[in-house]
């Protein structure tokens, strides 16, 4: 197990370095001079040259990448921004704040958003899927199945403002979505994120309802489930202890894949509700061609996905004893 993890993490690091090198090259090779952004309206060439030097952009690309890489572990010094302690991912070209602290600062928001939405998705999606499977062909099944189709076709940027308008502005039932640190006030954290969770999870929940239903129906037809029934296990035990275990394996596989999509959904949700998370950071970085921020967010996003996939694989081994971590 430990050696497995060490190997996986080492592999992940190699992947991240490759991703960062490629991303760095792609971003910094764009035919656009970020130095312009630091120059006044009438920008003399000598000022432009000075800024390039200040930003460390007057060196060959691979040297710049090397500095970037070293900066993560050893920190860096920028004339334009001052010192950047390790782990340094550079300074944002747009907001002039350290990229790393900007990401760390916003991480709890995105984490709260995605984790909360994951809980809603899994809890609610699996629950309704199980109900549907339990009552195959009955009205409850039909309601769950058809609402899942409706849910899947709704879009965050459509449902989000609509719900916000009715629940927040018109009826004033729930507070305007924002981020309150859980350490500050857990209740406020919860109530202020409720709407974003629901909105982000709607499209996914529906998918998980459908998947759980079909997986359960499939599992219930498995031999070992029949054996369990032949042993006199009650329907409930058979359903929840036996079939459920088997149904969860493909669900977890797909959830691992969906995590990336969920992060994508979080970006739109953050935009929709003006939440200051990594997603908003990414969107603004794209809008502003903020290369260091873009690179930072890409790397952190990639790291998160790689890490979560390791977690999913480990989770696998816990659910399915046939899987060995080696």
């Amino acid at each position: 197990m430990t050696s497995y993890l060490v190997r996986r993490v080492a592999g992940a690091l190699v992947i991240l370095i490759i991703i960062s090198a490629i991303t760095f090259y792609l971003f910094y090779a764009v035919p656009r001079d970020p130095a312009r952004a630091f120059c006044g309206k009438i920008c003399p060439p000598e000022t432009l040259a000075l800024i390039r030097h200040n930003l460390g952009m007057d060196e060959p690309l691979f040297v710049q990448y090397w500095h970037w890489l070293v900066g993560i572990f050893a920190g860096r010094e920028f004339v334009q921004f001052g010192s950047c302690p390790a782990p340094c991912l550079g300074y944002s070209f747009a907001t002039q704040e350290p990229v790393f602290s900007a990401i760390v600062d916003r991480f709890p928001v995105t984490l709260s958003l995605t984790l909360g939405a994951s809980v809603v998705i899994l809890a609610f999606g699996i629950l309704t899927g199980m109900i549907a499977a339990w009552k195959v062909g009955q009205p409850l099944d039909k309601i769950a199945s058809s609402s899942s189709v409706i849910g899947a076709s709704l879009q965050i940027y459509f449902v989000g403002p609509l719900l916000a308008f009715y629940l927040v502005d018109t009826m004033q039932l729930i507070p305007r979505p924002s981020y309150v640190p859980i350490t500050e006030n857990p209740l406020d954290w919860f109530t202020h994120l409720m709407l974003p969770w629901v909105v982000l999870s709607i499209i996914f929940t529906a998918n998980y309802t459908r998947m759980t239903r079909s997986q359960m129906v499939e599992q219930l037809a498995e031999d070992y489930v029949r054996t369990a029934r032949a042993k006199g296990m009650s329907s409930r035990t058979v359903f929840f202890r036996f079939a459920w275990r088997g149904a969860m394996i493909p669900i977890i596989t797909i959830f691992g894949v969906d995590l990336a999509t969920l992060l994508g959904g979080a970006i739109i949700t953050e935009q929709t509700f003006s939440l200051h998370g990594i997603g908003e950071l990414a969107v603004r970085a794209v809008q502003n061609t903020d290369l260091p921020m873009l690179l930072g967010v890409t790397i952190v996003g990639a790291a998160a996905i790689v890490l979560l996939n390791i977690v999913v694989d480990v989770l696998y081994a816990f659910i399915d004893p046939r899987v060995r971590l080696s």
């Binding site: 060439p45 001052g82 603004r284």
Partner: protein, 598 residues
């Protein structure tokens, strides 16, 4: 998102504005585009005349406190919602208008603009007792500081601090702000100023700024600059205390000389201000500081801020926005709602847009005139959401917000805003080439594609052969920057740094400033105009100078160097619980200085 186009001032702003205004207008250009004409008719139209009388005030005008706003009361918290956080708060790094607007709450400058109820604008002394004096036509400027000026820690603001504030602008990390004063304060304006002075951090002083006593600052410029007192009204020349200069870090947490100080600034999230007890209203002719606190929140898209102002719920009642305009798709709805219109602000900004005509390539003035005459200004305006959302059709170089602006329309654009192909044909006939080819370069965005179609159609009708060259939005300015670029017509935007002709006109039309990537994109180089610029620059009387600049404006239009596009407009909302929210034509957005909680 059209609001981006009003983020005026720096080159980057122009860059961003170019890309974003075009991108933003994609919304207005779609099916739901508010029809500018229809909505505007129910409202009093903004006129193409000088929006305000701009003048230089007296020492009496410069004395505090600022005249009371009728009905205003102190106390409460004012909320501000905007899309973007302020990119810079270190005065030396401030160029953009929205950074300036907020800076006025905690950064004071030698001079500033005072607005009265009838829309007149006066340049007055802010830190200085008056707008400065010069005895040699504008080469030597003397400012005297008021009594009772204090930093947020209670220490006095001295002439040494002012001198230091200018010296630190030479430091290598301060690159974003204006560099007029820096260029004028070194011995040789033709050489890079940083080669002549490296800033105060290595202990060296700039000897062209003298401080004979704690209250007096004397600037010895290398040439005559009669409007230097306007120059120092820019936030870029605001006061920074030597004792509290944190260099690069100062940008996030400047030290206050104004009525508020920064309690917390979380980048891209929020900015909280509370009263600076050491600010004395008696020293300040322009700031009221009615609210106890400001809470500013960022990341609110225009669609959201518009909806929130319309809903007017909770704290949003006490909210305004510096910059966010009404979302284009909501414009019509707002215009039709009298209650909403009561808490709306409309006005002309200093931002002008135009199409540069490359005079190096199209050398025949009649061809250039024919382009202007045939230009489909009306169609372009409608494609971008009409007058309310984008702006008024322009006919001059200078904006109506510039001192001395004169309205004239040499090519009958107001009479025939959709273009006059017949008149254009007549002009082309005079040129001897009835079918000249025009290479039109444009930013490739959905809206600009549509605009390009309209332009192509109109010019073709007049006999032109139009070759449209789409350019990547990210590299647009790099493509049109070189003097020997291969395009004939391309879009641009500009705003004066202070409301006189010298920054509205000279950087763009002085033929001696032509260089790669310099603002003179028309490459216009007419000796008479160059001479006239020099003369206007030397006129000490502001009103006289204004007239001279207006004459130059006419000369440039006579040369047909640009097709003026829009004087851009601002249209924004604020919450019902606020009073004293005003439109600031100098910055082109909402002003916080007179705001109070009802």
């Amino acid at each position: 998102m059209t609001s981006h186009s009003r983020r005026i001032a720096s080159m980057t702003a122009v860059l961003a504005a170019g890309a974003l205004a075009l991108a933003g207008c994609a919304k207005g250009g779609g099916g739901g585009a508010p029809q500018g004409g229809a909505g505007a008719t129910s409202q009093k139209p903004l006129e193409n005349k000088a929006v305000s009388a701009i003048s230089v005030g007296t020492a009496a005008d410069s004395t505090g406190p600022a005249p009371e706003v009728p009905g205003a009361k102190s106390g409460g918290t004012v909320y501000m919602i905007d899309r973007d956080d302020f990119s810079h708060l270190d005065p030396g790094r401030v160029y953009l208008n929205y950074n300036s607007s907020v800076s006025k709450l905690f950064t004071r400058t030698l001079t500033a603009y005072k607005h009265d109820d009838s829309g007149n604008i006066k340049l007055v002394g802010d830190l200085a007792t008056d707008t400065g004096t010069t005895t040699d036509g504008g080469k030597t400027w003397k400012f005297t500081l008021k009594d009772g000026l204090k930093w947020q820690d209670g220490s006095p603001i001295t002439s040494g601090d002012i001198k230091y504030s200018f010296e630190r602008l030479f430091a290598d990390f301060i690159t974003e702000g204006p560099d007029y004063a820096e260029t004028w304060l070194v011995p040789d304006p033709k050489k890079p100023f940083r080669d002549q002075y490296k800033g105060p951090y290595d202990g060296k002083e700039l000897d062209t700024i003298e401080t004979p006593d704690d209250k007096t600052v004397v600037f010895r410029l290398n040439d005559v600059h009669p409007d230097f007192n306007f120059t120092v009204a820019m936030t870029g020349y605001g006061a920074v205390p030597k004792a509290h200069d944190t260099k690069q870090k100062y940008d996030k947490q400047p030290f206050s000389s104004g009525p508020y100080k920064i309690v917390s600034h979380i980048t891209d999230k929020s900015l909280d201000l509370e009263r600076n007890e050491h600010w004395d209203p008696k020293t300040d002719p322009i700031r009221h500081a009615y609210p106890d606190k400001f809470h500013m929140e960022f990341g609110i898209q225009v669609q959201q801020s518009t909806e929130r102002f319309m809903a007017d719920a909770g704290n949003d009642k006490q909210a305004f926005t510096f910059h966010n305009a009404v979302a284009p798709e909501r414009t019509q709805e707002v215009l039709n709602d009298p209650e909403l219109m009561k808490r709306s602000l409309r006005g002309l900004t200093p931002f002008t847009t135009f199409y540069n005509i490359n005079t190096k390539r199209i050398t025949d003035v009649n061809v250039r005139k024919a382009i202007i005459t045939a230009w489909p200004s009306k169609q372009i305006q409608q494609l971008q959401g009409g007058e309310v959302s984008i702006g008024k059709i322009a006919t001059t170089v200078m904006s109506p917000t510039v001192l001395g602006y004169e309205a004239f329309d040499l090519y009958g654009k107001l009479a025939k805003p959709e273009g006059d192909p017949e008149a254009a044909k007549a002009l082309l006939a005079k040129s001897g080439n009835p079918n000249p080819t025009v290479v039109y370069a444009y930013n490739q965005t959905p809206t600009q594609e549509k605009v390009t179609v309209a332009i192509k159609e109109a010019l073709t009708k007049a006999g032109f052969k139009v070759v449209a060259k789409p350019l990547n939005a990210g590299t647009y300015y790099d493509a049109i920057g070189p003097v020997d670029n291969k395009y004939d017509v391309y879009w641009g935007g500009w705003a004066a740094d202070w409301p006189t002709g010298s920054t509205a006109i000279q950087p763009q039309y002085d033929g001696r400033l032509i260089a790669d990537n310099a603002p003179n994109y028309t490459h216009l180089n007419v000796p008479e105009i160059n001479d006239a610029i020099d003369k206007a620059n030397a006129i000490t009387d502001a009103a006289e100078a204004g007239k001279a600049w207006a004459a130059i404006d006419r000369q440039i239009m006579d040369q047909a160097a640009i097709v003026p596009e829009f004087y851009q407009t601002y249209f924004g909302l604020y919450g019902s619980g606020l009073g004293g929210v005003k439109f600031d034509p100098i910055e082109g957005e909402q002003s916080a200085l007179d705001i109070y909680v009802k």
